[in-house]
């Protein structure tokens, strides 16, 4: 994949604004991920899993720091807002499941849904961004990929133990979380301003950097459904879930 722009200095003010908003989403998303992993530590009973989960929380923090650093180096000032409406809604759903000590639901949210979203968005940005941004987005995107592998093994075992229960739970989690993610990438903002864009909604300006909302949404959907396939969720069930999503 080649970047559209070789250097950040070639970016127009409008393009810089778009990338700043994208970085705001990425940094906030990574911090939500960090908090989610930290909350998951206590859901494991064995020390090794607890340590691994803490390492993942640290890794998410590290991602957010790397995004911050590149933003600073490029003179961009992203907004970091964990109370941003969409992210706050997702975080609240996650905490309900964490409080209920439901590790399967927590893994579905963090490692299947949010990571699918992050992985696809990061790679899409990496494909069009200037070299500096492209490198960081691709590297972090690839690191996120490893998280999914870890979850697939655990979740697949849960599905094998009781398919019906697993799929019913996945459907409930999907309705709560993927609906919000779909709204984030939808044509219209149901929650009003997302709380992260510096001005008006970035979705309408994505074409300035060679991206578009429908493709980002499609890539995330593809990644999400492919991960559900890897888990062993019946194709017709996951298709029905995504057909109900807001567009």
């Amino acid at each position: 994949m080649s970047s559209t722009y070789a250097s950040a200095s070639e970016l127009t003010a409008r393009q810089r604004s778009v990338y700043t908003d994208i970085l705001s989403q990425a940094i906030t998303g990574e911090l939500v991920g960090m908090a989610n992993y930290a909350a998951m530590v206590r859901l494991y009973s064995d020390e090794e899993s607890q340590r691994d989960t803490l390492i993942r929380a640290t890794s998410e923090l590290n991602h957010s720091e790397r995004f911050r650093r590149v933003a600073r180096d490029l003179g961009m000032t992203p907004i970091v807002n964990l109370e941003a409406p969409y992210w706050n809604r997702i975080r609240s759903v996650f905490l309900e499941y964490a409080d209920a000590k439901d590790l399967v639901a927590c893994l579905l949210i963090q490692e299947v849904m949010l990571e699918s979203f992050a992985y696809s968005m990061y790679h899409a940005v990496a494909d069009v961004a200037c070299e500096r941004l492209s490198t960081i987005f691709r590297a972090i995107g690839n690191e996120e990929d490893g998280h999914v592998d870890h979850a697939v093994k655990y979740l697949n075992a849960a599905l094998t133990a009781d398919r019906e229960e697993f799929e019913n739970k996945a459907e409930r989690v999907h309705d709560a979380v993927m609906t919000t993610l779909a709204e984030m990438l939808g044509e219209n903002d149901s929650a009003g301003h997302c709380g992260l864009c510096s001005g008006s909604c970035v979705k309408g300006a994505l074409d300035q950097v060679g991206l578009d909302r429908a493709t980002l949404r499609g890539l995330a959907l593809n990644r999400y459904l492919s991960t559900l396939d890897r888990l062993g969720v019946r194709g017709e069930r996951s298709l029905a879930w995504v057909a109900r999503l807001p567009m």
Binding site: R163, G218, N222, G235, L239, A243
Partner: protein
């Protein structure tokens, strides 16, 4: 626990039109939800990975039910029209992997998926046999033409048969089967070299001629088999002889009878009917895969079921140009045991009037 039964066979396919895809997605949405717009559907569907969308079982009359799945590749009509071959091939491969994940021992490739795999000549992945479904399609086309002639009180020995797409897997099989059984055989295909080779072989047993121009022969033909799969029809019906029997055997089916001038007898060729019906009924597939006759499906989709019912988990149809008359007869015997017959004749406007007359 509570896993669906492992399928013996998978039918892998795609939809002919956006309206079918729309029907599928709308059927999955809650009744209270706003219907998806055409733009929303076109923005979403190309990203959906191939997946099982329906489960069914078929059984030979009095036999044990055999489980199968339908895997939708989500190859879109736009991808077909734009001939996005690499993208479509990727979806076919993913569709095969989806069938493999489910444990299917045999997959039949419907519509363009078989055309793509014919030309790629790829080896099947471990544990699953691939069949193009073309032998049953060809056999059903032949039976359909014979049925049409019978219903109209005409003898094929007096007819001039034009086969469009005569060097393709299905078209060449039909040509071999009808050689010497019609008054004259006219062959049309795009590849001149392959066409001349095919025609030279057939001339040993019948009166045959070949052209790369459809219009050169269209007026002479009293029976037409259009086995060329193109997004747009290769000809319009007003160019055909009056009272011509036209078998629309391509994919998608896109030859429509001229409105108000029912002087040509068009039917969708290669369609089979399962006597025992598909079970269970009321599935998602019924929302978008429907025909004027119940329990009907394309031959390419049915071939997997026929082979599975007969415990023949093998690549029965493979490559291009290997379907002999004997193999078609063998397939017909297998189809008969599975309760698959040629479907009553119909076209986009419904069942033939001759099929409903007492």
């Amino acid at each position: 626990m509570n896993d669906p039964p492992a399928p013996a066979f998978a039918a892998i396919g795609h939809q002919e039109s956006w309206s079918q895809i729309e029907a599928m997605l709308q059927a999955l949405r809650a009744p209270a939800q706003k219907p998806l717009s055409a733009v929303q559907i076109r923005e979403t569907v190309p990203w959906i990975p191939p997946r099982t969308v329906g489960r069914l079982q078929v059984s030979a009359p009095g036999g044990i039910p055999v489980h199968g799945i339908y895997v939708e590749t989500f190859i879109t009509p736009s991808e077909l029209a734009l001939r996005q071959t690499n993208r479509m091939l990727g979806k076919v491969r993913d569709g095969i992997r989806a069938a493999q994940r489910e444990g299917a021992r045999l997959a039949t490739l419907g519509g363009f998926t078989s055309i793509l795999m014919e030309s790629m000549a790829e080896e099947a992945p471990d544990g699953i046999a691939l069949t193009t479904g073309n032998t049953l399609t060809a056999a059903l086309i032949v039976r359909g033409v014979e049925r049409a002639a019978g219903l109209l009180g005409r003898g094929l020995a007096d007819e001039t048969l034009l086969i469009i797409g005569a060097t393709g897997d299905v078209g060449s099989a039909c040509a071999r089967r009808f050689a010497g059984r019609t008054r004259r055989l006219l062959l049309v295909a795009r590849n001149r070299q392959r066409l001349e080779t095919e025609c030279a072989t057939l001339r040993r047993s019948c009166d045959a001629a070949a052209s790369t121009d459809v219009l050169e022969y269209l007026r002479q033909a009293t029976v037409v088999i259009s086995a060329a799969s193109t997004a747009q029809p290769e000809f319009t019906l007003d160019r055909c002889a009056l009272n011509a029997i036209v078998c629309d055997a391509g994919y998608p089916k896109n030859i429509r009878p001229p409105s108000g001038a029912p002087r040509r007898h068009v039917f969708w060729g290669g369609m089979g009917r399962l006597d025992g019906g598909f079970q269970p009924q009321g599935t998602l597939c019924e929302k978008f895969y429907t025909f004027p006759v119940s329990d009907t499906a394309h031959g390419c989709m049915l071939e997997g079921a026929v082979l599975a019912v007969n415990n023949r988990f093998e690549p029965f149809s493979r490559g291009r140009g290997h379907i002999t008359v004997e193999r078609m007869e063998e397939m017909w015997l297998l189809a008969d045991r599975a309760g698959v017959t040629v479907a009553p004749l119909f076209n986009g406007d419904g069942l033939w009037p001759e099929e409903v007359r007492p």
